[in-house]
């Protein structure tokens, strides 16, 4: 456990020193929120949640790509793959929670007649999903530009696709539209149940994908055997 905390601590330090990235991360959801605040308050809530997801996924993508150089030597220094990916996920989840709190407060004091607990749930699920989503992309697409383009496509589709379309459920943040409808339009609990189920499945599947990718990439090759020194 000490090793996981150590990786988390230094991953967090790395992220916090990227001040330009942090500033953009902080402002991106705000831009999404303000874009529809004037004409459609409910849509602005949906957009701010999506903005948080996009910002955190991008940060995770870059953090994952930056770690590729040092992780093999950390593996040789006594870390196991799960120490490395869980430590990094913990750091990103912490950043995500810190990013979400001010936006939850913004919604709480700027909007009336919405279910705030459901908004909080969307943000928790968004953070839980966005961090492994970005890390999974960095694992599959080692070049940052390719990963960023894929992220752009996913978030773009998320914004334009009809949530009722069954193909939209394959998108990682579909739950935010579903729970958002429950929170803003006060629909029945079916939206909440479907959204919650989707969010949990997306978070678990993406986290598992990160774990599998890290285990494969940082596996001990069978040709190398360590024998205790005599």
């Amino acid at each position: 456990m000490i090793k996981i905390w150590t990786v988390a601590e230094f991953a967090l330090r790395e992220i916090l020193r990227r001040r330009g990235v942090l500033l953009i991360m902080l402002l991106l959801p705000l831009a999404f929120y303000l874009s529809r605040r004037g004409d459609h308050l409910g849509q602005s809530i949906r957009f701010v949640c999506l903005g948080i997801g996009w910002a955190l996924s991008t940060a995770a993508l870059f953090a994952g790509s930056a770690a590729r150089g040092i992780e093999p030597r950390l593996r040789l220094s006594g870390y196991r793959p799960h120490h490395l990916h869980l430590g990094r996920l913990l750091a990103l989840w912490t950043v995500g929670v810190a990013l979400s709190v001010p936006y939850f407060l913004l919604v709480r004091f700027d909007q009336d007649n919405v279910r705030y607990d459901a908004i909080a749930l969307i943000m928790v699920l968004t953070v839980a999903t966005a961090a492994p989503f970005g890390l999974a992309l960095s694992a599959v697409l080692p070049r940052e530009l390719e990963g960023t383009l894929v992220l752009l496509i996913v978030v773009g589709l998320q914004m334009v696709m009809d949530p009722a379309d069954s193909a939209a459920r394959l998108l990682p943040f579909w739950f935010s539209r579903e729970i958002g409808t429950y929170a803003i339009d006060h629909t029945d609990g079916g939206y909440l149940t479907r959204g919650l189920t989707h969010g949990l499945v997306a978070a678990v599947v993406l986290t598992a994908l990160v774990a599998v990718a890290a285990t494969i990439r940082l596996r001990r090759r069978p040709h190398l055997r360590f024998v205790s020194a005599r």
């Binding site: 790395e14 040092i70 093999p72 030597r73 220094s77 190398l224 205790s228």
Partner: protein
Amino acid sequence: MNQRGWLDTLAGELRRRGVDPELTAHVVSEAASHLRDSGEPPLAVFGPPGTYAAAVADSLGTAGTAAPDRVRQPASSRPGPPGPVRLDVRGISKRYRRRPVLTDVNLTVRAGEIAAVVGANGSGKSTFLRICAGLLSPDAGQVRVYGTLGYCPQAGGTSDFLYPEEHFALVGAGRGLSRSQSRTAGRDQAASLDWDPSGRTQARHLSGGTRQKLNLVMAGLGEPDVLLLDEPYQGFDRGTYLDFWQQLWRWRSAGKAIVVVTHLLNQLDRVDTVLELTPARETTS
């Protein structure tokens, strides 16, 4: 260069040439005394400290004077009988597409030995080391490491936004060291490379040579039994380059098995084993 700086540089140059520490202190003390008495600037009296150190070392018979990089290993640090096998590489073959890079390569390195892997560009030196480190799979062959492994890559291997001492803490935690143990061990090894890592400079702002010093120190943290070093001296100035070889000899004296990739043939008189790799031609089969 003031008198203090000149004397410090002289001490460093003598150390790099393998002059005994007590003798070094004596020579520096004598020079300081002479300068004090004469009141003349050191450059006018003795010339450049490197040249003077080479002359002193030559007169003592511990090193050549023609070129500092031809320094021989100090006789006192030569190992005794060969130690147990620490790295055993058998029948390694590797091809990229149709081009064979390594064909049936064998290497055995014992405790207290330095093995140099030499060869032209594209001969598979780094590939061989990455296979030894388990970062790359061969097509055939196996590697046995008796003990723990430290690896210094040719480039990369650091985290851009962390300070050097944070790297020590990160690697040290993997080796089971506490923060203070990691910092102390890192500082000690850095000092032997004439580097003070205590500043708050992120790795991305370090010069290429200093970043490689960081890489080298990270490889040696936790006292691994086997050290795999892939041209770690890139970007080193001449003084640091000599310090690097002194560090290698210290590791050898401490019973480490070391494999160092190099393409500089003038280093080969300093090692125990040489593995020469030759670039293979593309096959049509």
